[in-house]
Point group: C2
Chain length 339, copies 2
Amino acid sequence: MANVNLKKLAGELNLSVSTVSKALMNSHEISIETKERVLLLAKQLNYIPNPYASSLRRKTSKTIAVVIPEVADSFFSIAINGIESIAQDKGYHVLIYLTHENFLKEKAILNDFQSGRVDGVLMSVTSETVDTVHIHDLCSRGFPVIFFDRVCEDIETAKITTDDFESSYKATKHLIECGCHKIAFLSFSKSLSISNKRMEGYKQALADNKIKSTDADLIYCTNDDAYNYTLLKTVMAQKKHPDGIIASVEKLTTTIYLVCKELKRAIPRDVKIVSFSNLQSALILNPALTTITQPAFEMGQAAATVLFKALEKSSFNLKKEKYVIPSTLIIRDSTRMAL
Amino acid sequence: MANVNLKKLAGELNLSVSTVSKALMNSHEISIETKERVLLLAKQLNYIPNPYASSLRRKTSKTIAVVIPEVADSFFSIAINGIESIAQDKGYHVLIYLTHENFLKEKAILNDFQSGRVDGVLMSVTSETVDTVHIHDLCSRGFPVIFFDRVCEDIETAKITTDDFESSYKATKHLIECGCHKIAFLSFSKSLSISNKRMEGYKQALADNKIKSTDADLIYCTNDDAYNYTLLKTVMAQKKHPDGIIASVEKLTTTIYLVCKELKRAIPRDVKIVSFSNLQSALILNPALTTITQPAFEMGQAAATVLFKALEKSSFNLKKEKYVIPSTLIIRDSTRMAL
DNA sequence: TTTATTTACGAAACCGTTTTCGGGAATCAG
DNA sequence: CTGATTCCCGAAAACGGTTTCGTAAATAAA
């Protein structure tokens, strides 16, 4: 492929390889005239340096990794957008790895990073991740790890999150103010801190409003849509079904809507629904969905920005970097009182 | 980072670097006992080869690129899923590049591939791409380029598409059968072949059913949501507004729904809508959206599969590879007659 | 026994950069 | 005029693998 390299340029110009290299790097050791000669020919021949030779020598790859559970989720899609926008600015390349919520995959992917393939990683852990030695290993080697959204509590490194507790609290309070008495919380992982924080916000709001919380109202969904469907169906089929629901993850929205449709539970009359979601189509749903919308793009940008700060200054202390970017509760028809 | 390398292993084992390397590659030149010794120590010390040293020497990177307009679109998200699933199987890494429908970005990104950074590219061109020399350049150097979804007609290489003409024809016919007489087509690019094929299918269906097509019914939307909103608003505000609409791209769905809501045009009573879309939430929209759903995951997988065939056999002729995976028309409430 | 072949390994070149080091020529200070 | 700097460049080592080639020893063939 890349047929024109430094040696070729050097040959054409009657210069040494090292001189050409330095000229291209705008080194002060090289005279202006020589630099111009080199630049000119390099442009003419469309010289493009071999990134792998360069990475090998410099021990930096100008590449970062993004490790996420999946990409078919608008939060992660939009976050990638934010990450990529910063990376492109900085001239970095971004490798994408999907774990599909599989812990072993996550482990294998991170293990590979010891090879020096990437200069740092932005990640959201899987819902299965409880053991964190694979991440700890990387961190202890000084490898930059930045968590965004789904963080590991027990690892001290940069974390970009949203205000999960507070926004969940607000959403729950909103449901209560709308007259809900029996509010269910749809969790999707027992281990994920993000899921637990949201649950805590929910519980706190109930407590503050003197509503007793039952464990029966905590619905543990999984990554399996079919399973979730039957689970939610049994929940909503009960005579004393919840009159308010908080879905702690976007993908549960479709399921709960379908269940309500099937069971002829009218939203918001029979049950009011609010969901953590970044779906652009939330406002054209039937009915329009009240959402807690996470600042996905901003979180992606923030994560990338922090990483690049660390890459630019090796003394940069990632452990101190904690950013909490607030989510916004957008009230729509699915929680409307008079309808 | 990667402190344990071949030299280290060789030292510990009293072997030469070349022997260790060959042992790890399971070369026949190395005795079984030596191989076992090497493998054991490599595992113990968690040896991970430096990918860049290897790429430099072998002139292959075990990395592919995916170049797409954006990722916050369910078609592309799902397609990435398909691509990544195959790549992970094959032990390849995938670099993501977003063009944001910007031709110059696309050009710069592809130009960089001459460096040997990636072994091949899967791409969907921008809506601005008319000049295709940058792609031609790569192809003529024998660099594997696989188009998926948004292809360039004038470039002979592997193409994975869906049946844009036929599915658009079917959708239009469906609208006609639902009693629509004035059907508008929402295009999003004058140059994109995919957009034009869909338009042709639409026109053909009109012609076959003796409905005269007016240029006024071809609505050219852009990448700017706000612009599209006002454009569609003026269209739908007319007294003789369309009674049927085909949205040729997913992102226009939200816009047209909002416009109808704003203008109190009832769907499907006043206007019936069908959209090219992979939104999972289509069936819980207000009303549920009739879609032409593209086989995004399968297209991604197919594209990756073709690429890996080419990478495994250098004699593989990409020019002959054309796959058309059909879309499916899913009829829902937004085109229902009696409502 | 001699010759040919196989087996198992090491030395060294190589991939294309970057970077250190050294040195000749020119410029400057004394 | 001599010595110290500065300017500009090239030789060579280095990065960490892979691959070619050579070769000593063991084995097979003649």
